[in-house]
């Protein structure tokens, strides 16, 4: 008896062949996943699929926009699910393009269910990871949002490695004031060391948050 998958998730099956849709959905259901089927890229793009963990099982060739076209469109979304390609016939250029654009795997039909489930497992893992990153970024953004403009300036000075004296001079503030701000930054950002603060700042920058810069 097959065990329930390590990560059960939603599998979006985009394939124009209805017989294949039905078959793959049956297999995925039996494997413990929740398949959702779409017969074109457009149909999938129109659907709301922010839930997770999820992945997209994508046919390469379909009438209208191809699987690669859909992958391109998804990559411009910040909350897109990982893509596994499943094609009747994959030529080398298509495969290379798909993998470069971040596909989890490029499978060809007929695919043994074990291979498929393995790829889906990796995709769901990636999706969970993605979700975790998204969550933490959201949290950090919220923390940063609680800082006052003055505190953000002090934080910029700290992560730039400036001494308190230098920050006082630059902000035309008393050293005690700076020390107070600095302690509040550490408290609001929930860090205990400057090194930790620097790492969070990097994460925020990676998430595309514009940090206040110090006028030094």
């Amino acid at each position: 008896m097959m065990a329930a998958p390590a990560i059960p998730g939603i599998v979006h099956v985009v394939d124009d062949d209805s017989a294949f849709q039905t078959a793959i959905a049956r297999a995925l259901t039996a494997a413990g996943h929740r398949p959702r089927v779409y017969s074109s890229a457009a149909e999938y793009l129109a659907a709301d699929d922010s839930e997770g963990p999820a992945c997209v099982l994508l046919d390469l060739r379909m009438p209208g926009p191809s699987g690669l076209d859909l992958q391109g469109a998804l990559s411009r979304r910040d909350n897109a699910h990982p893509v596994v390609f499943l094609s009747g016939h994959g030529d080398i250029p298509s495969t290379v393009r798909a993998m470069q654009a971040g596909a989890i795997d490029f499978l060809t039909k007929p695919v043994p269910i074990a291979t498929l489930l393995d790829a889906i497992h990796r995709a769901l893992e990636r999706d969970l990871e993605r979700q975790r990153v998204l969550l933490r970024r959201g949290e950090l953004k919220e923390r940063y949002a609680t800082l006052t403009p003055r505190e953000r300036q002090v934080m910029a000075g700290v992560i730039a490695g400036r001494l308190n004296k230098q920050i006082c001079y630059a902000l035309h503030a008393a050293e005690r004031t700076v020390k107070t701000h600095r302690a509040r930054v550490m408290e609001k950002m929930k860090v205990r060391s400057v090194a930790e603060l620097v790492r969070i700042a990097e994460e925020l920058e990676q998430a595309g948050i514009e940090l206040e810069t110090t006028p030094l």
């Binding site: 008896m1 097959m2 062949d17 017989a19 294949f20 039905t22 078959a23 793959i24 049956r26 297999a27 259901t29 039996a30 494997a31 390469l60 060739r61 379909m62 009438p63 191809s66 499943l86 009747g88 016939h89 030529d91 060809t108 039909k109 007929p110 695919v111 043994p112 269910i113």
Partner: protein, 631 residues
Amino acid sequence: MYKGGGHAPRGAGVIAGWVAAWLLLAGSPAARAQPLPEAAGAPAPWRIVLIRSWDALYAMNIAREQALRDALTEKAPRLVEIYTEEIDSLRVRSGIEPEFGALLKNKYRDIPIDLVIASGIEPLDFATRYRDDIWPGAPIVFNGVIDGALDGWRRPKRATGVTMTFDMVGTIALGMAVVPGARRAYVISGASPFDRHFLDIALKQLRNIDRPVEMRYIVGATRDETMQRVEALDRGSFVVYLSMLRDGAGRVWGPGATALPEVVARSTVPVVTPVQSQWTRGPLGGSSVQLDAHGRAAGLLSRRVLEGADPDAIEIRATPEPVCQVNWNALQRWNIPERNVPSRCEIVNRPQVLWRAYSWQFAALFAIILLQALLLWSLLMQSRRRRRAEAELQARGAQLAQVARLSTIGALTASIAHEINQPMGAILSNAEAAQMMLEQGVLEPGTLREILADIRNEDLRASEVIKRLRKLLARHEWNPVALEVNSEVAEALRHVAFDAARRGVKLAPVFDPATPVILADSVNLQQVIINLVVNAMEAVAGAPPAEREVRIQTRSVGNGAEIVVADRGPGLSQDDEARLFQEPFTSKKDGMGLGLSIVRTIVEMSRGTVSYESNVPHGAIFRVRIPALGA
């Protein structure tokens, strides 16, 4: 004879004629003629007395008199009554002439005669002397008098006529021409007064010969002597036969017993004669008046006089001009080459050598036969060449068919993989789903039934695809059959439909229902279409999506069907155009370049053509034309 200034020809005294029938009539009271009743209102007939010499059936008389009578009566405004009399110095004793004259006077007492026609010198002499007594007031028209016989003759009042030329000069010239280097001419003449008269005139003419030839005479001899002479004539001579009404032994040779045929038979040298009526009796020929033409001239002259012309005002002339004629059989008889015959002489009785008689018809016939032969030959060559070309094409076609299949497989790889793998994938997934459900103990019979039905359907679908591909790709004989162009094109497009979809190329078929049925191999025709369409799809790969369209059109043109495959890709450069159908040609970096060569070969095996032209504003148009079935 007839020389000097006598008021009448000298022969007049001895000339008299007698007709037994007239004696009988004259002696019978019942025959006494009453004045002829004239039909009221109708003009009186022309009453004519025609006097001829000797027997009416002498050839000379027959031809001349027939023509004379015809001319006289032809479309005459009045009836023409002709009374004939004969003057026969040959057989009838002289001295009866006064009584004969008196008899005629009595005979014509109540018959008003409008004209006296004298045929021959003796009748003319008689008419000259007796006209005023027997037929007072009637004019005289003569004919049958030899030109030259009237020298010194005193022309009577109200008399005219035509003379005839027995052309000695021309006849001797003919003899000298057919016997090159002839030294002697033997002249044969009889012993009757007419024979002498004729000889006399002939001798007068001979004085005018330009290049004299030695003349020898066989005159007044018996017929046997004459024959002996002509049997022993020396080479380099010829015979001139004049006449022999009576021979030296006093025998008269009548119309049925003329001596000439025997002379011809016996003579070792050519025999010529200036008398046209003798030409049918075997001599080589001669130069003579045409007797029928002469008779006709006399008849027409008579008509003029009857219609009121003044005979005294009409000049006496030799009519018509003599003609020269040669008998082809006689040329053979004396072994004379035709080239010796003077050009003015007509050769008659030439056997009807068909190609000579109908030379231009024969020329045309031969030309036609020749043309037909040439045509047949060229058709034969053409057909042989075509058969050889077809055999070559078939052989080449068989080789290329294999390459064509490979080429088609290449073009369809993606489609084949997709079409097979799609159902295979569904089958596998279904099977594995069922297996998992079974292991989980959740497999309901209804679900299993659904799964099995799906597996079955997908299996059928896969085998259907394989069947279709096998038909397209399997090795098979070139098998031309009658094909519906539209359905062939439609099936070919089904093969590439998937490929088109993945490339984002729209296939736009336009089918003309009037497209004729063609004779072609179905699989190969489909391969042609697939090749052209795949080429076109590749050509538009880089085009903006709106222009990624391949137009496929069928239609009826001229005597066949046309399949047009058009795209709006970049088209071909002029250099490429020139090399287009040669192999290998490709504008693709990974193409084998065999596609178009195969297309052309296959189309040509169906007696068709494939051509390229540029699309507007850019792109390629390929036209495949195949003759309709039976075209």
